[in-house]
């Protein structure tokens, strides 16, 4: 028994001396920098929306061993910080896991959409069609994007067929608006103001401005007429030119007011179209909730 006790004690002593030696030479915080620990901490930062730091942690792991799901998180972080060019290049680095490659392509397309150049978006989708054959999911986005820039719209029935029955009503409305926007005519506004000063402005929706234009032109015309009638020709001409100044300005201003009105309704339409698309998540399946 004494030998056994001696053995145990010597064994313990070896263990303790190993600990001490290890302690003296090891970098004390290195354990926290192991890949698993970094991944765990990185996930925590990602879910805390601290994206720059999460990206740094994931990149540190990726330097040692490649991991597609971490790369996916890095790319998603860039997307969430609205850095879409970066997110596209990061999504393209995913190349091993089949599922993630598909999701990454979808997210790249989504990033292209967010950048806002819809020609490029459609170009990328076409390439994806041809190469991967995932036509169904992206045809909706492809066709919907035609509403968002100056592209020509195909014939209505051929267009709406891409969408399902719940979506068709709303998109049909958008289609009708886009193919025949309810713009007002600037020429008509100018003519109206030539006949009655300020009427064109009211036509463009600026009633207050219209009344002011009417009053100003009217006031100075009255003053001019009054001065002429009293043979004060110089002041008569002065007031007449002021009246002409306001009259011409009113015609010009009515035309520009109608143009601004048109810009306004187009802006509202574009916003509505974007909002609907965001509600539908760009008709692309969203990745599984990354933080749970």
């Amino acid at each position: 028994m004494n030998t056994i006790r001696l053995k145990s004690i010597s064994y313990l002593f070896m263990l303790f001396s190993l600990m001490i030696i290890n302690n003296l030479f090891a970098q004390k915080r290195d354990a926290l920098l192991s890949n698993n620990n970094r991944i765990s901490f990185g996930n925590y930062l990602f879910c805390d929306r601290d994206y720059i730091r999460a990206i740094d942690e994931f990149n540190a792991v990726l330097e040692k061993e490649w991991n597609d799901s971490l790369q996916f998180k890095i790319a998603t972080s860039y997307y969430r910080m609205d850095m879409f060019d970066k997110s596209i290049s990061e999504f393209q680095k995913i190349s091993t896991e089949v599922n993630l490659i598909k999701l990454a392509s979808f997210e790249s397309i989504r990033s292209f959409y967010m950048i806002g150049d819809y020609n490029i978006l459609r170009d990328k989708i076409s390439n994806y069609f041809i190469v991967k054959g995932e036509s169904q999911k992206l045809s909706k986005l492809y066709n919907y994007s035609l509403l968002m820039d100056d592209s020509e719209l195909p014939e209505k029935s051929k267009y709406l067929i891409h969408f399902n029955s719940q979506e068709r009503d709303k998109i049909s409305d958008f289609y009708s608006w886009k193919s025949d926007p309810p713009y007002k005519s600037p020429t008509k506004g100018a003519l109206m103001s030539a006949v009655i000063p300020g009427l064109g402005k009211a036509y463009a929706g600026e009633v207050g401005d219209g009344i002011t234009a009417f009053l100003l032109t009217g006031l100075f015309t009255y003053l001019a007429v009054d001065k002429f009638q009293n043979d004060h020709t110089t002041s008569g001409w002065f007031f007449a030119s002021v009246a002409a100044f306001f009259y011409a300005g009113n015609i010009y201003g009515s035309a520009t007011a109608v143009q601004n009105y048109n810009a306004g309704i187009k802006f509202n339409f574009d916003n509505e179209v974007k909002l609907y698309l965001n509600e539908k998540n760009q008709f692309i399946p969203t990745p599984k909730h990354l933080c749970d």
Partner: protein, 311 residues
């Protein structure tokens, strides 16, 4: 402990044909031995791992502290967050959150600083630590000029911890709150409560005396157009304002005197009122702008040269 019979087994080559059976220890002895050994081993292992973990966490703390001390605040926050995440025993929860808050404050990110100050406040129990953090929160509020919150917190602190906190500290920070709110008068009063010749009181008094009275500028311009502008040092603007007001005033009165009432109303209403209004608007504007410059000079001195404690 044990009594055993042990047969001394010598070199078997010298044995006769009879092989001595090696004495086997009774089972219960072996079991107890096994338990003792594994127990010892597990205790050693636990001690070892917790020792190592503690060393690791301590190492992480040291690293984070080193980044903080060289003012690399962004990376310090990363390392303190790492420390918080891995420190399961929560030894450093209070300190880490405090340091994160201080780092954010150094980067002028006051919203984030407040968030972490509040977290660290929820993790401390001692009154002295709580008072410390409350003062830090007050200082951040002073810096981002949310003065009502700062003053209210100071008053609360004073009443709640009356015995434990020196009233001069409260007065000092209240004074700073007023300074940052551009209210040098009230600031002077607060500093006077600490010491009648407190350096910050002297500065506040100086600023207050240098400043122009906005209401005086405005009222004098109402009475004599241009005088407010002259008072604030904008002589040219004052003279021109006076000139215009005299001109239109004369023309208006002249028009009324010579029975041209309509024109009088036009000139007086459109032109004289315009320049009269512009006159006292300018007086007020110039006074406010000059006062702002005076304050900014004082602020620059306080930020760069003043040696005392700053928010």
């Amino acid at each position: 402990m044990f009594t055993q019979k042990k047969n001394v087994v010598l070199n078997p080559r010298f044995q006769s044909g009879v092989k001595e059976k090696k004495m086997k220890y009774p089972k219960w002895t072996l079991v107890r031995l096994g338990i003792w050994r594994s127990g010892l081993f597990s205790i050693t292992f636990l001690v070892f791992t917790s020792f190592m973990v503690a060393q690791t966490i301590d190492g992480q703390k040291k690293f984070a502290d080193s980044l903080f001390s060289i003012e690399n605040y962004f990376d310090a926050i990363t390392e303190y967050k790492r420390l918080l995440y891995f420190d399961e025993s929560n030894r450093f929860k209070y300190e880490s959150n405090l340091r994160i808050a201080k780092s954010y404050k150094a980067g002028a990110k006051y919203g984030d600083a407040l968030k972490y100050y509040l977290i660290s406040r929820n993790n401390c129990n001692q009154d002295s630590a709580i008072i410390n953090i409350e003062l830090e929160i007050i200082r951040v509020n002073i810096l981002r000029r949310t003065t009502p919150e700062a003053i209210e917190s100071l008053n609360k602190l004073q009443s709640k911890y009356a015995g434990k906190i020196d009233s001069s500290i409260i007065n000092y920070w209240r004074g700073w709150a007023y300074i940052m709110a551009d209210d040098w008068d009230l600031a002077s009063i607060e500093f006077a409560k600490i010491k009648s010749d407190h350096p910050l009181k002297m500065i506040s008094d100086e600023v207050e005396s240098e400043k122009y009275s906005v209401s005086f500028a405005k009222i004098s311009s109402l009475i004599i157009p241009g005088s407010g502008q002259v008072y604030t040092g904008n002589y040219l603007s004052g003279i021109m304002s006076l000139g215009w007001n005299v001109l239109w005033g004369y023309l208006t009165i002249n028009a009324f005197m010579t029975e041209r009432a309509v024109e009088g109303i036009l000139i007086g209403g459109l032109l004289w009122t315009r320049f009269y209004k512009g006159n006292f608007q300018n007086a007020e504007k110039f006074a406010i702008e000059k006062n702002r410059k005076i304050s900014n000079k004082a602020y620059e001195y306080l930020a760069k040269k003043y040696q005392g404690e700053k928010p």
